[in-house]
Amino acid sequence: MRLFRWLLRLFPFDFRGDFGTEMEEVFDEQRAAARRRGGRMTLVKLWARTLLGVVRTAPREHLDDLRRDTAYALRMMRRSPGFVATAVLSLALGIGANTAVFSLIDAVWLRTLPVPSPEELVFVQDTGTRTPKTHHNITLPLYEHLRDGNTVLRSLCFFGALTPVSITIGSASELAKVQQVSGTFFETLRVHALLGRTLTRGDDRVTGGHPVAVMSDAYWHRQFSRDPSAIGQPVVINGTAFTIVGVTPPGFSGVIPGERPDFFVPWVMRTVMPFGGTRDAREDPLPSIVARLDSGVSERRAAIQLTALLQQALATEAGSQLSPERRARLTRQRVELSSASRGLTSGPQAELSERLGMLMGVVALVLFIACGNVAGLLLARASARAPEVALRLAQGATRQRLIRQLLTESLLLALAGGLLGLLLATWSLPLLETLLSGGHRPLNLDLRLNVHVAIFVGAVSGASVLLFGLVPALRATAGDLTPLTKRHLGKGGGYGPIRWGNLLVVAQVALSMAALVVAGLFLRTFQELGRLDTGFRRDQVLLASTDPRLAGYSPQRIPVTYEEILRRLRHLPGVISVSLGRQGLVSGGGTSGSVAVAGRAPLPGENDFVDEPEGRVLNVPMFSQVSADYFKVLEIPILRGRGLLATDDAHAPRVAVINETFARYYFGNEDPIGRRFGGGVETSSEIEIVGVARDVKYHSMREPVPRAYYIPYLQWSSSWRETTFQIRTRGNASGMADTVRRAIATVDPTLPVYDVKALTQQIDASLLQERVAATLTSLFGMLALILASVGLYGLLSYAVSQRTGEIGVRMALGAAAGDVRRLVIGHGMRLVALGTAAGVLLALLTTRMVASQLYGVTPTDPATFVMVALILLSVAIAACASPAHRATRIDPIRALRVE
């Protein structure tokens, strides 16, 4: 019997109330009859039938109730379009903001590779390797042994990092990115060609013998406008002719999210790649290995079998003379597998993820405020509908039923808000993408809505309903009915919702304050960094980079070529001066090398690893390999001695110009001119210091200027590789881009020219993260403020409408318009003051969490707090204005007559 009662719980509450007892009795009789008639079997059949009946009828009852509640809710809502519009819009903004940021999180963290069954993919490593998950010591013979001997893997493959190469199609050369992969790469990933074919095992046999390439869909679109005749066309990669054999499907961009290779070539063709080496790599570890597990095979099982195979192979390699320690070490070798379903996350994405946590917090605040608005609106409505509710309660409706009905309204609001929010988020994604890709390293995130996002939106909408709908529903149907059915002049039922409303507004103001302070701090950070003096003159300088090695140049040819390029560029109309320099200039990259100064003992920790807040850092100076005009072009003042000259070439004694920090560190107050230093103790007399230059920023704007020195590129063959030209122009730098390209082409059209941009662009790009953080937090902060002020406005309007009688009496007794206005504004500003105070406390807590991301401003920066408080106050006063004005227009006679 208890079982049946439990079964009845599937029915709606009201249904149970109406028929529950009866149903129990009927079932009781049925059981008795069944037992009498047929015994066990009939009883079982009865239970089966009853169960089926309940399962079929209960949902229908629930649906009926839902349909009725929905129809009722819609009818109610149609009567107050203003309320619905405000509520839905508030929710849409809150949910939309959260969805947009979540899409970012999804693209960076959560999304799996666009291949079939990505959960079957694993990275293969041997023990002793940590992150990244792709470093290992497995050589080709070991790999082959694992591949041939296993029964747990569907397939195995490996892939190299992306390499920049010079691509020539027809007569035009440009830089492109190529990924070298094993023949089983596409087979393991189960990716089929969009057109033509992908690489197969047959393309992997002979070193240097398979000049075929698979093109990415993006490249095909860009260079060939998706012309199918691209298949079979030749493409020259670093001087070697390849044939295009296929195109990968759109959306597929290898296994490194954020990196988009233009071409995939067989690993055996690595000999034509620079830095690819020509040695037989059989003793070298392979690059990253990925395997696809056989269906139904667990990682653990596969790892066990592969470990056994590995140990077997290692033992065979070592031969018969195995010392006991070696044998012991061998048995400790394991194969470790780790999930590759998300691919290999790379640098730019990792950087972004820091900010994302913070952003998610800010948009959560916005959502809370939005929910607060809707809760306030619902509370006000609840009190307005109080007579109706009381009547229905008196007529016998259960409280449960009414709560369910009110929650249905909230559900519909959340549904509408969620859908609109989804729309807003979709619409804002391209904007987000542009914002985030503004740097010189486009993030290449695939921002789009998918199942994850849809689930997220659903969950957030549902949570919002509970947040804003539950309390008003409970309040509306609770407690003392008398004050709700009567209208009072002063104290009484009208003040219940106002008390809650006050609380909500204070909370909203506090949250807005916190959000705006965070935004303010990020804005200041961005400002401070942007305002920093780089030390060199950044405007009207164009940058252009090239790498002659990609065009097949031997290092010896490079200096001559560079000198020629410098000469041609100098003669261009509109060019003032030209130089070249490989490193620095806030490009994010640089070169360092240990330094030993003749006649000076190194300090402890010098030239060694030291622990900095960012991690272990090598405590050595940075250097730049530059041409003589470098200081002139970038207007870096030489403070002592001289700069570099054209005569400081390969035949001249080695010289260097150091920066102030270098001078101070190694020589203190002594004159560094004439002193000597070198790369090591033996070579410490190699280089003579001829000048001291002013400190300039090297890596990035944030970091302090390091010890640095400048050496003539002509004197060091290590600089005969890729470089960047700095061209000071008379007018707008970017306008000269084409001219510069063409000028370099006249020297040699096969030279790839890339990263042509203004120096200011490069510096702005280095501040990408800060700019994004500042923009997004400001946006969301403003959103929070708007929503909170709408909440304040709503509450005050409601308060005025409720206190019409009281105000009427006051005016009748002689109160002036100013007094009434002060009453309303006083109410509002009291709440704002409380909210601001609470907000300050909240902000102090939150800003501490983002302190590490700030620059030039402390987490408790008083100026920012004051500024934000002022903004809050002025917006609040504006929000109070209209209700206050409306209060003064109350006609005392009419107000009193209604009572």
């Binding site: 249904f15 028929f19 009866e22 149903m23 009927v26 049925q30 039938r49 009853t50 309940v54 009828t57």
Partner: protein, 122 residues
């Protein structure tokens, strides 16, 4: 006087619903009696479970096809604890309308050549 309701709008009825109405046409009954009666009438073909039955009862009550009985039947037949249900006049109309509809439908089927019963077990 409530506005005239058209019984046709409630057609077609599900078999279970129809049988419940027919059962009640025979006299007021309580829940269990309806179950037993339907089972007997249809010779075990239509077996209602409590869930289905009360879903039906709720709908019939809501649509005004049946009503709860305030006065009890004769003391000898009455069971004090139970609730009795009665067919309303409107409910009767609906039951009749459905019967007529079913007759029309079967007559039409019989008139069709393909379905003519001539020595073939239907």
């Amino acid at each position: 006087m409530p506005p005239k309701r058209d019984p046709e709008t409630h057609l077609p009825l599900t078999p279970a619903l129809f049988h419940v109405l027919v059962t009640l046409a025979d006299g007021d009954k309580h829940g269990y009696a309806i179950l037993r009666d339907v089972e007997q009438r249809t010779a075990g073909e239509v077996l209602l479970s409590t869930g289905t039955l009360y879903g039906i009862i709720k709908r019939l009550l809501a649509d005004g096809l049946i009503g709860e009985v305030r006065t009890r039947p004769a003391a000898s037949v009455d069971d004090q604890r139970r609730r009795y249900y009665r067919l309303t006049p409107f409910g009767r109309q609906v039951a009749l309308a459905e019967t007529a509809r079913l007759e029309r439908a079967s007559a039409m089927a019989r008139a069709t050549r393909g379905l003519r019963l001539g020595g073939v077990k239907a």
